[in-house]
C-alpha cells in the first residue's frame, strides 16, 4: 500500500487525567457462564416454546398412545417409543440453536466481548445442552410412565414396565448423541437454518440412503454399523448392547462427532464474529 506522507508525527502526550485506581476484577467464574447460558436457552420466545414443547409433545405422544394403541400394546416401551419420536426432533433443534443463535442473531458480538475465551462459552453451551437433554428425557419418560398408568387403568389391564434402568439410560444416551449431532452441526455451520437442515439430512435422509444401500449390498448390511452413526445408535433402543455394538457406537461417534466437532471448534475459535 501507499507510504503515507500526510500523517503528522503523533502529538506529544497531554497530561493524562488521573485514572481512578481500581483493583483488578476477579475472573468470571465458570458457574456464572453456565447460569447465563442456561438462561439464554429459555429467555426468547422461540427458546421458551422449544423447551415447553418437550413437555407438550410428550403429553401429546402419550395421549396418542393411549387412544390409538391396542390394549395389549400398552406397555412402558410403547409409550417411550412414541415419545422418543418428537424428542428426536426437538432436542437436537435446541442443541443447534444454542450455538447458532449467537451467529444468526448476532448476539455473539456481545457474548464474546463479555467472555473473550470462546472455549468457555462453547463448553458451557455443551454442558447446558446435554443437561437439558437428560432433564428433558427424564421429564418426557416420566410423562410416559404416568401415561402408562393412566392408559392401562382406562384399558383395565395391568401396567407393563418393560424398560429396566439400563435400557432407560441407553435411551437417554441415544438422545444425547442426537443432541451432540445437532451441537456439532451448529458449531460447524454457525447458521440456524443450515444446522437444522443438516440435522434433518442426517436424521431422515441418510438412514434412507443407508437402508437402500443395505438392501442391495450385503456387505453394507453387515457392516454399516461401523460407518453409520444412525445404524450404530439403533441398538441402544434394544435391550442388549453387545460388546461389538458398543465398539461400533464408539467408532462411529468418533468419526461423526469427535472429528467434526474438533474441526468445527478450531474454526469457530479463529472465526470472525461480525
Amino acid at each position: 500500500m501507499s507510504i503515507d506522507t500526510t500523517t503528522p508525527p503523533a502529538p506529544p502526550a497531554p497530561a493524562t487525567v488521573g485514572r481512578r485506581a481500581r483493583p483488578e476484577p476477579a475472573a468470571i467464574p465458570t458457574s456464572r457462564i453456565l447460569a447465563v447460558e442456561l438462561r439464554k436457552m429459555f429467555d426468547t420466545r422461540s427458546g421458551f416454546w422449544l423447551m415447553a414443547s418437550i413437555g407438550i409433545l410428550s403429553v401429546v405422544a402419550t395421549g396418542a398412545t393411549i387412544i390409538f394403541a391396542a390394549r395389549e400394546d400398552l406397555t412402558f416401551e410403547s409409550f417411550a417409543t412414541a415419545i422418543g419420536i418428537p424428542m428426536n426432533v426437538v432436542l437436537p433443534m435446541l442443541a443447534v440453536l444454542a450455538v447458532t443463535s449467537e451467529w444468526s442473531q448476532r448476539s455473539g458480538l456481545t457474548t464474546f466481548t463479555f467472555v473473550p475465551d470462546r472455549r468457555r462459552v462453547i463448553t458451557a453451551k455443551a454442558v447446558v445442552t446435554l443437561a437439558i437433554g437428560i432433564a428433558g428425557m427424564v421429564l418426557a419418560l416420566g410423562v410416559g410412565a404416568v401415561g402408562n398408568l393412566v392408559g392401562t387403568a382406562i384399558a383395565g389391564v395391568d401396567p407393563v414396565w418393560n424398560i429396566n434402568p439400563q435400557e432407560f439410560a441407553q435411551i437417554v444416551l441415544a438422545n444425547e448423541i442426537t443432541m451432540l449431532i445437532g451441537f456439532t452441526l451448529g458449531v460447524l455451520l454457525r447458521s440456524s437454518a443450515g444446522g437444522i437442515v443438516g440435522y434433518f439430512v442426517f436424521s431422515f435422509v441418510l438412514p434412507g440412503v443407508s437402508g437402500a444401500l443395505a438392501s442391495t449390498q450385503q456387505w453394507w448390511a453387515d457392516n454399516a454399523a461401523w460407518f453409520d452413526l444412525n445404524t450404530a445408535t439403533f441398538p441402544l433402543f434394544d435391550s442388549e448392547m453387545t460388546g461389538e455394538a458398543w465398539a461400533q457406537l464408539g467408532v462411529t461417534s468418533l468419526v461423526w462427532l469427535a472429528i467434526p466437532l474438533t474441526v468445527g471448534l478450531a474454526m469457530l475459535m479463529r472465526s470472525e464474529v461480525k
Binding site: M1, S2, D4, T6, T7, P8, A10, P11, A13, P14, T16, V17, G18, R19, R20, R22, E24, P25, A26, A27, I28, R32, I33, A35, V36, R39, K40, D43, T44, R45, S46, G47, S101, Q105, R106, S107, G108, L109, T110, F112, T113, F114, V115, P116, D117, R270, E272, V273, K274
Partner: protein, 299 residues
C-alpha cells in the same frame, strides 16, 4: 487507554487494515473517523478480540483484550446496536449482561434510567425497537460493569438530535471523569463537537491523527490585503504554501499567527485575517480520504 500498534488485517489479497497505529488516551474522547469501508469496524473488532489481526497488536489498559479477567468491568463495548437476539426484551439483555459481568441486578434499572428507556420499552422485544432505542440499549450494555474504557462503533447512528446531545454529554462526563472513549463515526459534525483527539482512517491506513485543534489548524488561514501581489510575494518568500482564493484573497497553509507575522514583517496592510473558509473537519476529511482513494487505485 487503548494502544494500537501496526495492526494489520488481510483477507486473502485484500488489506482491510494496514499498519494502523494510534493511542486513545484516558481523560479524552478520541474520534475515529473514516468513510464507510475504511477499516474502522475491523480495527475495533480486532481491539476486542472478535477479529484475529494478521499482524500487529492492540491492547486495552495495557493488556490484550482477551487477557482481561472480566472485560465488562474494564471496557464497555458497543460494536453494532442491531446485533442482539431479536426475541429478547431490552430488560432481559441487560439482565444477562449484569449476570455475566457480576454486578447486582438493581443495576438494570439504573442503566435503563441512565439511557432513558422506559419500563414499557424495556419490556418490549428488541425486534420492535427503533435503531435509536437499540443504540441506547447498546450503550447501557456497554456501561453495565462501570468500565473505564468505552469502545463505541457509530453509536450516534439512529439517534435523534436530542439523543445525540445526550450521548455527547454522557461521553464528555465519562472522559472528564478519567475514562477513555474511542468512538467511530463517518458523520463529521458529531465527532467535531465531541472529540478531543482525532484519528482519520482511509482505505485501511491512518491518514491523519492529532488533537482536534491541530488538525483544524492544518486547514490554513485566509488572508486579504490591499496589495495582494505584495502579500503573495511575502508569504511565498516565507516559505508558506499558498493558494489563490477568489480574486484578491490568499489561503495559506499556516496558522493565523504565522501568517499575521509574515504580513506584518513585510509591511503589507492586511484587510482580513481569519481561519480559512470551510476549514471544518469535513474539508480535511474529504481531502484526505480522496487522496488515499487515488493512491489506492494507483497502487
Amino acid at each position: 487507554m487503548i494502544t494500537i500498534d501496526a495492526l494489520t488485517k488481510r483477507y486473502g489479497g485484500y488489506t482491510a487494515v494496514d499498519h494502523v497505529t494510534f493511542t486513545a488516551r484516558s481523560g479524552r474522547v478520541t474520534g475515529f473517523l473514516g468513510p464507510n469501508g475504511a477499516g474502522k469496524s475491523t480495527t475495533m473488532r480486532a481491539m476486542v478480540g472478535l477479529t484475529d489481526p494478521t499482524s500487529g497488536t492492540a491492547t486495552v489498559l495495557g493488556r490484550r483484550f482477551a487477557d482481561l479477567p472480566n472485560p465488562g468491568r474494564e471496557v464497555g463495548v458497543l460494536l453494532d446496536a442491531s446485533a442482539q437476539h431479536a426475541g429478547r426484551t431490552g430488560r432481559e439483555i441487560l439482565t444477562l449482561a449484569t449476570r455475566i459481568v457480576g454486578v447486582p441486578r438493581t443495576r438494570v434499572d439504573e442503566l435503563l434510567d441512565m439511557v432513558s428507556l422506559t419500563d414499557e420499552e424495556a419490556g418490549r422485544r428488541v425486534r420492535n425497537y427503533s435503531l435509536g432505542m437499540r443504540q441506547r440499549l447498546g450503550i447501557a450494555t456497554a456501561l453495565v460493569g462501570a468500565p473505564e474504557v468505552l469502545i463505541l462503533d457509530e453509536p450516534a447512528n439512529g439517534l435523534d438530535p436530542a439523543g445525540i446531545r445526550w450521548m455527547r454529554d454522557l461521553l464528555r462526563r465519562f472522559a472528564d471523569d478519567g475514562g477513555t472513549v474511542l468512538l467511530s463515526s463517518h458523520l463529521l459534525h458529531e465527532i467535531e463537537v465531541i472529540a478531543d483527539d482525532l484519528v482519520v482512517i482511509g482505505n485501511g491506513t491512518i491518514v491523519a491523527q492529532g488533537t482536534k485543534d491541530e488538525l483544524l489548524a492544518t486547514a490554513g488561514t485566509l488572508v486579504r490585503a490591499e496589495d495582494p501581489a505584495a502579500l503573495r510575494a511575502a508569504l511565498s518568500a516565507a516559505g508558506l504554501t499558498i493558494h489563490a482564493s477568489g480574486s484578491d484573497a490568499v489561503r495559506a497553509e499556516a496558522d493565523l499567527a504565522t501568517v499575521g507575522r509574515v504580513a506584518f514583517g513585510a509591511g503589507v496592510a492586511v484587510t482580513e485575517l481569519r481561519a480559512a473558509d470551510g476549514a471544518g473537519l469535513e474539508e480535511i476529511f474529504l481531502e484526505l480520504t480522496a487522496q488515499t482513494q487515488r493512491e489506492g487505485v494507483a497502487a
